[in-house]
């Protein structure tokens, strides 16, 4: 994806200005061959399936990629927070910081031909799927150059070429759509899967179980991913669900509980799920994750949970910190280099915002475009006269 290429290019000039010891590290940071074995924070818990192993092999390059991608996502969300407070972003803005490991880990396990569909907390998944910062910010500000031409907004990011199907505002409605994506994949006999993401709040929607039933009935290659951040807006999971073990909710459909703050656990789980779905049909993944912001920008996020809880999770389970510690402990980069990368990302994000601010508002005529598809291409005629009566515009 776009983010990876930049990391390899930009690290070179950085390390050139630094003393020779770091030039050794430069080899590590772009190193794709050295295998590093990491262990997930907690073992996987399976429901009606054998969970995959805890140990995962990775490379320094992947670690640096994870770090860079997650740092970019984090920075983007925090910048969006400021933009919202500056009233440049209006309406609803649901931020993903804290949950970046899910987006990054999932992306690492799949290809762009696999589909992802999610709900309204979609900025980072969009980025993971190949969206650019400029596209994201212009869309958030409602400008013409946004990924949905300014007509979608925060909750409607889409990227068809990379298999990102959005971006949906109504809770739970994206899951049947996700099953439809899997249906199309099975229909066209492609060896790809569809990931349908939803939250712990949406897990109580009936349409989820209807969709799951159909997916299981026809062995569709669908993977339902519950991003359990433990709060459905303001309601804690134990107040909304009789059984908060969302990975078990599938009953006859196997499930896996994953530490969603650990990018490698997510990657391992998604790889496992993809293999499973292609052979045996649907599987549920429950990502145990956490969001630092409130549900949306209009929610302070502290009325239903304590600040201690939030800072506790930030200290112990932050996904970015975990990767940082791994990088430092394996000597892949120094503390300073990582800080430099973060500074660089901050600059990138600021530049993207500046560029986005320059983008013009959509033209008033855009109000009426894309309501219907033009160019239907249907010739309509009456056979009794055998002449073309009209060609639809």
């Amino acid at each position: 994806m776009a983010l990876t290429h930049r990391s390899t290019n930009l690290l070179k000039p950085l390390s050139a200005a630094v003393p020779f010891t770091s030039s050794l590290r430069r080899l590590f940071s772009t190193d794709d061959a050295t295998a590093i074995t990491v262990e997930t924070s907690v073992p996987f818990t399976g429901h009606k399936c054998d969970p995959p192993p805890r140990t995962i092999d990775t490379t320094p390059k992947e670690l640096m990629t994870f770090f860079r991608d997650m740092a970019t996502m984090r920075r983007m969300e925090i910048a969006a927070d400021s933009l919202y407070k500056a009233k440049l972003i209006r309406g609803f803005c649901h931020l993903y910081d804290g949950q970046e490991a899910v987006a990054v880990g999932m992306e690492a396990a799949i290809t762009k031909k696999d589909c992802i569909i999610t709900a309204y907390r979609d900025h980072c998944i969009f980025l993971g799927r190949g969206g650019t910062l400029v596209e994201a910010f212009t869309e958030l500000m409602g400008r013409r150059d946004g990924c949905s031409r300014g007509k979608g907004g925060s909750m409607h990011f889409y990227k068809k070429e990379s298999g990102f199907y959005g971006g949906h505002g109504i809770v739970g409605a994206q899951v049947p759509l996700g099953i439809g994506l899997a249906f199309a994949q099975k229909y066209s006999k492609e060896e790809h899967v569809a990931f349908a993401l939803y939250g712990d709040g949406a897990a109580n929607q009936g349409q989820l179980f209807e969709a799951l039933n159909m997916a299981a009935l026809w062995d569709l290659p669908a993977i339902l991913v519950c991003e359990n951040n433990h709060y459905g807006m303001g309601t804690a999971e134990w107040r909304a669900a009789k059984s908060p073990a969302y990975y078990k909710r599938g009953d006859y459909v196997p499930g896996l509980k994953v530490d969603g703050m650990d990018a490698f656990a997510v990657k391992q789980a998604c790889k496992f799920a993809k293999e499973h779905a292609l052979k045996n049909g649907p599987i549920i993944l429950e990502m145990d994750t956490y969001r630092y912001h409130g549900h949306s920008m209009s929610d302070p996020g502290s009325t239903y949970r304590t600040r201690d809880e939030i800072s506790g999770v930030r200290q112990e389970r932050d996904p970015l910190e975990r990767i940082r510690k791994l990088i430092l402990s394996h000597d892949i980069a120094t503390e300073k280099e990582l800080k430099d990368i973060e500074k660089e990302i901050r600059k990138e994000v600021d530049e993207a915002i500046a560029q986005a601010k320059e983008s013009p508002m959509p033209d008033p005529s855009e109000l009426f475009t894309n309501v219907y598809v033009k160019g239907f291409g249907v010739q309509s005629f009456g056979a009794d006269r055998k002449e073309v009566r009209a060609i639809l515009p």
């Binding site: 199907y165 439809g180 249907v378």
Partner: protein, 401 residues
Amino acid sequence: MTVVFLGIGATAALTSANSFDSKKLHISSRRLVSETKSTFFVVRSDGRLNSGSNRRAQILITNAVATKADSSPATKPGHELLLFEALREGLEEEMERDARVCVMGEDVGHYGGSYKVTKDLANKYGDLRVLDTPIAENSFTGMAIGAAMTGLRPIIEGMNMGFLLLAFNQISNNCGMLHYTSGGQFTIPVVIRGPGGVGRQLGAEHSQRLESYFQSIPGIQMVACSTPYNAKGLMKAAIRSENPVILFEHVLLYNLKERIPDEEYVLNLEEAEMVRPGEHITILTYSRMRYHVMQAAKTLVNKGYDPEVIDIRSLKPFDLHTIGNSVKKTHRVLIVEECMRTGGIGASLTAAINENFHDYLDAPVVCLSSQDVPTPYAGTLEEWTVVQPAQIVTAVEQLCH
């Protein structure tokens, strides 16, 4: 209203081929909107001219009732079939033509469809292409829309249109709006079809008319079929359209028989159908009410009126071109629909006609709709929830007096 006939004895070409009888004299008549009582002529049925007074009863139209030209079945082109068979033919031809077309709904596969529209298709195309879904309208509609986002062209069958209320969120938000909110990235070429309307004592929940609920959803098109000919043509057009189309069928019309052409034809989704050209009043209708209107038309013709009947077919968008031309000709409009009085198709059509053709109207637009009640089970009560031919006749008489 003064009726003035000018011009005598010129043969006029008729717009419909069926009602031509060269032996009769045809007059070309022009309607003048004038208050002056000038001399005028009345053409009697035997061709004699009479100058007469302004007496409605003396005005007789020679070419009133459209009679079909008689010809023996053997030489007639085309083949005869029932409406549900016409739908199936259209569906099958499209499935043959494009491998991405698939059907999903309850009991469409092995059972053959509750109204036999998909009979035998599962044997021919397999279980995945003619998919029997569980009873989960919201989800299988969502599933079809998701599949359409990737390029498939599913046809969603609601066993009864009323059940699709459960899928309203998917139809409104995802089906209608995705093309817009994605900035044009995704097209949703689905067809949502099913029978609706008041049947024979089916009860309130199974006699719903959803046209009124769906009509405000931006991004979808709605059509209503009424004859085997337009059923097949509209089905094919709907499948080929890149936009989501809702095709409204009617429970009581499935067994209508008609002769349709053998050749392949596709109808225009946005076009209205001229059922019976006329001069005095425009009657706009769709679906089953077309037949009530035609029945009333027979009575009206005997009473001396010349209604122009248009089957609007396209419920969203309205074919204001055809409707407008008709209004400009007749200056009176009667809408006969099966939708409810409040917020129905007729209400929107009345508004559209008033806004666009106000200057051409000589009388307010009258809209006859079903009563704003749940459809009762008792047969007599049910009859009175929908518009009956007698009411149509009375309305025309009142409008045209």
